[in-house]
Symmetry: C2
Subunit: 329 residues, 2 copies
């Protein structure tokens, strides 16, 4: 049995799955519990599943509440990281939902809640591919495109806790409509959803045989892995749209370089994990071409290393720092 | 005579003019000296003029070296703020020029050198229109478009000291060629140079009567004030291109909002100072339209208040902070 009160839970609350991981003071993962989010069931059920997942992970690690020092949560936004209130996530059924307060009531330990992409970037910064850098931009292309910023070695949140919305950099004012209501955002040009939309149309026109074979023409079935398989199989039009999306990603990376002058950009998320090497190479090439020379020449582009654990590990780090700060006061 | 060693000089090294201002511990300006930069004469002469301007300001304030505690300089970049070496400013004839070391040799006091737009933003943050905010983006459209960042109340420099290159946000990948070699940067779409180019063509076509009357068709003569006068006189095509440039400025402001979630954006520089109110209003409108709602609703857009003193005041603050830090060590 672990020493009293020195374990934390890092929690990754995703739109489709949730993950709780119990970690020791050196961030060694002692146990993991995963559940489907079943977001259609509303806030109450979602909260209950969160609690069950945490309890399940604790049980697997063989610990009870006496060993638990705190819980860190990475959740989709928008949310208020200072109060732990989820402002509005239609996917999860949370609206002005006091997730931190409710978890503190159940588990009787301090809880911190922050944006999932922030936590993913934070995890990679402390434990993964972005370790040892000082100014890090995290970009995670998946269904949407999220971003996180580490500036001067610290998580940068901005005025309302929402900094790092890199998916909504406008790259082409006459481009396709984005979920946010604008035209030509990075997310509308290069997310998995944007690619699936194009791939479905290509499949329907007989120009993406591998996609048609694996997933048909329903864009809901065209996951990152299908796109990656079609790319590897050499579906010519799929190769073109994937590389074009990587190009746009690279232009947005150039904007981040010009504004923030980071020393590393970490790329992660479903699309990056699924895609073969030419995808990241193309993004890097476009970044080098479009950013200012003196700023870009020192930027390392790295691929996220922690996979499914990055958010939970970043959240575990966040709650540990919070506990240390409390300890000092 | 002021108390020993409690005065500093803030220095604004511009491409066309330079300004030295002697300031007391409360940043009250005791004297100012201005000279033309005469950049065509090379590094040696430029450095001598800098020294003369500082000495002249000190003389006007009635002080000698015994009262001087330090000198802060805002200079065009690229430069290394940690060593005070100007990397390359063709305008001033400096190439790998150790401005800090050379000034320290002459004046026997500590010197700090940073980017002029950073210093302008820093001045506005501490003493001007952006006072009281915590996360501030400074954007200064003039011949080019410079930017500066205050994040968490501190000047943010990035990995190589070059953060804040907001003029090189790419807004239209098929847009006009920029001085940096890319296409469609904010600077290529909305700087005074970009406007002058369009205005000269309009004047030549007889579509900008006020410009033609005041400045002819030579774009070198079409200054911000000419554009402003033509705007006020109602030259229809000039009004259109000016408002279009403000629109692009606003889209770039939206990108800054989405990435950095600031609480204020301060606009300054020649174009902003010269232009009538509809210019800033149009930029703000475009920002509101193109940024994410939850992030943009708390952003204040303010116009720089310190005019010609902003860089010198920011640089004075920089050197004072440096002296305080040295004092603590």
């Amino acid at each position: 049995m672990a020493k009293k009160k020195d374990l934390v839970v890092g929690f990754d609350l995703g739109g489709t799955k949730m993950l709780a991981a119990v970690m020791d003071p050196k961030y060694k993962i002692l146990s993991r519990s995963k559940k489907k989010t079943r977001s259609e069931k509303g806030a109450k059920e979602c909260f209950e599943r969160i609690c069950e997942t945490i309890q399940d992970a604790m049980q697997q690690a063989g610990i009870d509440g006496a060993s638990l020092a705190g819980i860190g949560v990475g959740s989709p936004g928008p949310l208020d990281p200072w109060t732990g209130v989820i402002i509005d996530t239609p996917n999860l059924g949370f609206k002005n939902y006091p997730l931190r307060a409710n978890l503190e009531k159940v588990f009787k330990v301090p809880v911190q809640v922050d944006n999932d992409v922030n936590m993913g970037t934070y995890g990679e910064y402390h434990f993964g591919a972005a370790k040892g850098f000082r100014h890090v931009v995290g970009i995670f292309p998946g269904t949407g495109i999220g971003g996180g910023l580490i500036l001067d070695g610290k998580l940068f949140r901005g005025a309302t806790g929402a900094a790092g919305e890199i998916g909504h950099i406008i790259l082409d004012i006459n481009g396709p409509l984005c979920g946010c209501g604008q035209y030509g955002c990075l997310e509308a040009l290069a997310s998995r959803s944007a690619l699936s939309k194009e791939a479905a149309a290509l499949a329907a026109r007989g120009q993406a045989p591998t996609v048609l074979k694996l997933a048909g023409t329903d864009l809901a079935n065209i996951k990152s892995s299908v796109l990656a398989d079609a790319f590897k199989a050499g579906d010519r039009e799929i190769v073109r749209i994937v590389l074009k999306s990587a190009f746009y990603l690279g232009v947005a990376m150039a904007t981040c370089v010009n504004i923030l002058n980071p020393d590393a950009i970490v790329l992660g998320g479903g699309l990056v994990e699924a895609m073969p090497a030419p995808y990241v190479a193309e993004a890097r090439k476009a970044m080098l071409k479009h950013a200012l020379g003196p700023l870009v020449k020192k930027v390392q582009v790295v691929v996220a290393a922690l996979k499914d654990d990055s958010v939970a590990m970043g959240a575990a780090r966040l709650i540990r720092e919070h506990l240390q700060e409390r300890g000092r006061k």
